[in-house]
């Protein structure tokens, strides 16, 4: 199988090793004998998100978020249709904020989000910085959080996980990220996929099932079998 990994805004939104997430998905496909095509989507690109098998987005500065926001708004329908087609998406930090309802930086105009998540972010101080562990439907997920925004989820918005140690979304509740359909929003850097192979294989399982609904990934020896059986199940 050949899968298409779309890296969302690598030029502007790749602040904390986010490209490592792309590397992990590509290698885990190649190690299983599949092909991976990595497509970079920068503002103005004619790449269509509906042709993606999996979408990855990373973090960026406030200035960078302004740069990509218009382009993302122009793709709002693409994003919704791709999610309706169960395209898995992992949206980290700045991209998570833009997939929410909006972000108010410390200085300057607010940036409207595209509302995939009912999650509103406002700049907060001091920055939330440190190692974090959360409990998710895929088990324990660990990473490094480094953000200056506090994100409040709407009453019906599911979080990605419950905070075990660290801060999380930063609005007071011990929850982290958000999940809508096959889209996961999170503040976890690290990057998150190299140290959390179950999350990587979850995204790849959903991506494979776009081509074969019964698809199962061959084990690589770093995901416990009982977790592997659950992959693809973390959707709301």
């Amino acid at each position: 199988v050949k899968l298409r990994i779309v890296h969302l805004y690598p030029r502007d939104m790749n602040l904390y090793g986010d490209t490592g997430n792309v590397l992990v998905l590509r290698k885990r496909l190649e190690w299983r004998g599949h092909e991976a095509e990595v497509v970079r989507l920068d503002p103005g690109s004619d790449v269509d998100l509906r042709d993606a098998d999996v979408v990855l987005g990373g973090g960026g500065s406030d200035a960078a978020q302004h740069v990509v926001a218009d382009d993302l708004h122009a793709r709002r329908d693409q994003v919704r249709e791709a999610l309706a087609e169960r395209v898995p998406m992992l949206l980290v930090c700045g991209t998570f904020q833009l997939f929410g309802t909006g972000y108010q930086p410390a200085e300057g105009d607010a940036i409207d989000g595209i509302g995939v998540f009912d999650a509103t972010t406002t700049a907060s101080s001091p920055r939330i910085i440190g190692r974090i562990a959360i409990e998710t439907a895929l088990g324990r997920v660990t990473g490094f959080e480094n953000h200056g925004g506090a994100t409040r989820l709407g009453p019906d918005q599911a979080p990605f996980g419950r905070v075990v140690s660290g801060v999380g979304n930063g609005d007071g509740a011990p929850i982290e990220g958000a999940v809508t359909g096959t889209a996961i929003g999170t503040y976890l850097h690290g990057p998150v996929l190299p140290t959390n192979p179950a999350l990587a294989d979850h995204l790849l399982t959903l991506a494979m099932r776009r081509h074969d609904p019964q698809a199962r990934l061959e084990p690589l020896g770093d995901v416990p079998p009982e977790t592997a059986a659950q992959l693809g199940a973390l959707t709301h």
């Binding site: 030029r11 790749n14 090793g17 500065s61 200035a63 490094f144 190299p194 140290t195």
Partner: protein, 425 residues
């Protein structure tokens, strides 16, 4: 700090920026010393306020008189604002701004703003890297005279690895994306703005050309205005050419003839952890600091890739001084290590993270129980006269140097002998 610094009759020079502070200061100090100026400087990496004070106190006699006439201090980018208000430097050199320790510094644009505020707080002349657009833009904030240094074009015969657009900044005048006619590495190069016509400032002192010399250094031509001089540098790597030009330009600015400045800068011995060689066991070990993606890319390219059979130990720590966030290892091109004979050895507080990184880079690697075990194994693998490398983050490099010194001392018949240290080829 203010009173001690004010007693230096020839004033103070401050060097800041992400990469190259220690080597540039060392080169500048050599150029000034060779020209007859007695210099007080802070040693490798002690570049917060405390390190500057320590250096000043050590070089002041009991009557409070300085035993040097000029100060050359490297100052951490984030500490610059408070330190320059005390030191009142006559010249501030800003080298470059790369992503480094984002857990401490947040974003590059915020860091540039802090440096701008520091420059606007003192009556210092400013020397800027013209090839780094974020640094060149600081000219607007200087209160003293601004001059800049850079390359006149790309250095031939070198292919930049691990260069991506991640550190690039938009045009300071109109916000459009800058375009590059040539690129040295990362965001350093000959840029211009296609939208508003902004051009890179012409460097006052520039590298005209550099040809690789035998032994890993360079045969260089530099110019001041249109006067061209030649110099040899023993420092491998394009990044060290930038350090050489920065130090030569600063010394020239302080009255040293450019040719003499460059020759002194290029021939001084490297600082610990910046390519210094320690003879130990049957061979010798080169310790290289690598603490951010651009720095690691440059070090891999200049030192480690040209020696594909050399044993290698990578040490990753996450103490505060290293940066607690180790995600940057995914932005560094460790892929070039694939195919080396024998596993790459890995140690440090974040051994597991580095092993995972190398696994995804498809590099044969093995974790060591401790840094000391790793070094012992590296040294045991060295054949007669063979060179091995250690690539280490900041606190790791300090521990490595300590253990290397002990190994070197016990290997000799005179236990108290200083380890022999010389320049890396």
């Amino acid at each position: 700090m203010r009173r001690l610094a004010a007693r230096l009759p020839d004033g103070v020079v401050v060097v800041t920026g992400t990469n190259g502070k220690t080597t540039t200061c060392r080169m500048l100090r050599a150029a000034l010393s060779d020209a007859g100026t007695a210099v007080v400087a802070n040693e490798a990496g002690s570049n917060m306020a405390q390190g500057v004070v320590t250096a000043l106190v050590e070089r002041t006699d009991l009557r409070g008189r300085p035993r040097a006439s000029m100060g050359v201090f490297e100052v951490d980018e984030a500490a610059l604002d408070s330190v320059v208000r005390e030191l009142r430097p006559k010249l501030v050199v800003v080298l470059n701004l790369f992503r480094d320790q984002l857990d401490r510094y947040a974003e590059l644009d915020l860091l540039a703003q802090r440096i701008a505020s520091a420059l606007s707080a003192v009556d210092a002349d400013v020397l800027l890297d013209a090839d780094d657009p974020r640094v060149a833009a600081l000219a607007a904030n200087a209160r003293g005279t601004v001059s800049c240094y850079g390359f006149d074009g790309p250095v031939g015969g070198h292919e930049a690895i691990g260069t991506d657009a991640a550190d690039r900044s938009p045009c300071r005048r109109c916000g459009a994306r800058l375009e590059y006619r040539w690129l040295s590495y990362a965001q350093l190069g000959g840029y211009h703005c296609p939208a508003c016509g902004l051009e890179r400032p012409r460097p006052d002192v520039a590298l005209v050309s550099a040809e690789p010399a035998s032994g890993g250094g360079w045969q260089c031509r530099l110019r001041s205005g249109d006067d061209v001089v030649t110099a040899e540098s023993g420092y491998a790597g394009v990044y060290n050419l930038y350090n050489l030009v920065a130090a030569s330009a600063a010394a020239h600015r302080l009255g040293v003839p450019l040719g003499a400045a460059a020759q002194s800068a290029g021939s001084c011995a490297p600082a610990a952890g910046r390519g210094a060689v320690t003879t130990v066991g049957a061979g010798e070990v080169v310790l290289l600091l690598g603490k951010n993606p651009t720095g690691v890319a440059q070090v891999l390219q200049a030192h480690i890739r040209p020696a594909p059979a050399a044993p290698l130990l990578v040490v990753l720590n996450d103490a505060a001084a290293d940066g607690r966030d180790v995600s940057w290892i995914y932005d560094a091109p460790f892929e070039v290590l694939a195919g080396r004979p024998g596993p790459v050895l890995v140690a440090g507080t974040r051994t597991e993270d580095m092993l995972t990184r190398l696994r995804y880079a498809e590099v044969d690697a093995r974790g060591c129980r401790s840094l000391e075990d790793g070094l012992d194994e590296l040294v045991a693998r060295l054949g007669a006269g063979q060179r091995g490398f250690v690539l280490a983050t900041y606190t790791a490099a300090q521990s490595v140097q300590g253990h290397l010194d002990r190994l070197a001392a016990t290997a000799t018949s005179e236990p108290a002998r200083e380890p022999r240290t010389e320049r890396a080829a």
